[in-house]
């Protein structure tokens, strides 16, 4: 076979094969671990936050190719954002940045959003002063 056929598009395949930000952050400021009841995937995102801004984000994922790509992309997208900006992060950004996901795999991007939100929540819980500033998102 000369051509290559892939289940996901090139961007997704690239993020699956060469995931960005894979790993853990030592002394993370916020850690979120969530699971998808639908399929059993588990995603963990850890954040380094400085001056209200996400300095670093890392992920670990137990899940399918699109789950790994979604967490890789989500961590890429989120780095550098303020907490407030991150609070309104939506899975659609991941889908768009990945150039689309198969319909049955959209929930993987939702999981990435949830993991991120959980990590933020964790941070906010440890930093009540932030919660006071942005109560709506939590």
């Amino acid at each position: 076979m000369s051509e290559t056929y892939t289940l996901y598009n090139q961007t997704v395949m690239d993020h699956f094969q060469n995931p960005r930000n894979m790993g853990d952050i030592k002394d993370a400021d916020g850690i979120g671990e969530v699971g998808a009841a639908a399929c059993g995937d588990i995603m963990k995102i850890s954040l380094k936050i400085k001056n209200g801004r996400i300095e670093d984000a890392r992920f670990k994922t137990f899940g399918c190719g699109s789950a790994i790509a979604s967490s890789s992309m989500a961590t890429e997208l989120i780095k550098g954002r303020t907490i407030e900006e991150a609070m309104s992060f939506s899975n659609q950004e991941v889908v768009d940045a990945l150039g689309g996901l198969p319909p049955v795999k959209i929930h993987c991007s939702v999981l990435a959003e949830e993991a991120l939100k959980a990590a933020l929540e964790d941070y906010v819980k440890k930093h009540p002063e932030v919660a006071a500033k942005a109560p709506a998102a939590v």
């Binding site: 076979m1 289940l7 395949m13 699956f16 094969q17 995931p19 894979m22 853990d24 671990e33 969530v34 699971g35 998808a36 009841a37 639908a38 399929c39 059993g40 995937d41 588990i42 995603m43 963990k44 670990k60 994922t61 137990f62 899940g63 399918c64 190719g65 789950a67 790994i68 049955v104």
Partner: protein, 421 residues
Amino acid sequence: MRHVFLDHQSATPLLPEVFEEMRPFFMEAFGNPSSLHQHGLRVRDALKKARVRIAALINAESDEEIFFTSDGTESANLAIKGVAYANERRGKHLVVSATEHPSVMNSVEFLEKQGWTTTRVPVDSQGRVKPEHVAGAITDKTVLVAVHHVNHDIGTIQPVQEIGRVTAEKGVPFYVDCEASAGWLPVDVQAMGANLVSFSPHRYYGPKGVGVLYRNRKARIVSIIHGGVQEGGRRAGTENVPAIVGGGLASEIALREMPSRASHVAALQKRLWEGLKARIQYLKLNGPEPGPERVPTNLNLSTEFIEGEGQLLSLDISGIAVASGSSCVSKSLKISHVLAAIGLDHALAQGNIIMTLGKDNTEEEIDYVIETFSRIVTKLRAMSPMWEEFESGVIDSVVRPTGRGKSFSDHAASVSGKPAH
């Protein structure tokens, strides 16, 4: 890049000689077997020849017991629904094993909506049905018992001969789905005591587009695809002549080459399983050990702490084609019901990978797969929060429990808020 095809359960390439046998039936002998002229009669003869060859593969008494359908799925539907509808007045109860293929399971579910009841006979942790459980499930309203010969997912060989004795004693027709065994293991319908048997030559280097239903006179069936009077009135519709012709020759070749094909794949199966086991920790073989209780083509593995689709994708990128029963690869987002039926822990079901061997696989290929797969497992485990949590003692292993940490399933349920299914 190397290409290793280890998904023979899903497809096999057509044999060149089978292709040559089919070739004249596309453009030259293109007739319809229902026609009464030269063109029809010629292909009618060809169908007859294919029927005889297929009867020989499964030791049917007569080629008149062979009916052609479009695939193994349709054959299974015809066996189940055809018997159910034909015997509606006698009773509306069916007995099936819990690990039948979806073509059987979903046919049964459809009938349940129409008023039939079904007893699903459980299997043990190796996927085996106990004949006494089948005997116990049969009532005086039972019109069919269905137990497959070999499981499509985990390769378990069922004690069909013993079950055939039970059904013969009780006088209930016995249907055996042989899709995962025909062409690879001897299928002797008479020794099995089977009244109906289904399979498809595309599983053993024959063409797609044809399924077989064997049916002897002890099982009454009616048609489920209605129309003309093709196939003795049991299956309407223009016959797929080239595929039937090809299926005939593929069956003849499979019968002849069965001993050599079977011993070849059995050796590879052993090499692959032992190689993987030696290189990869926390790897579980689902179904029986390679040997007399397992079809020699199949290895069903669970790689703990990582999920199946990622393994499948990574293998594909390395040129290795495999399947998986993980929920992520199924269109319904459910794990294979076979894995559920053998009581496989959800954590292991998620990490499922199915490798099925064929006659053209080589030792070198197997060694490449062992090498590549262990590299992939290492990479994916490095990405997995479960591996990390196992290493740090938060969760425990199912394959080789250490006694430390909670179970993966408990952990998964706690992070997802719901138990996994």
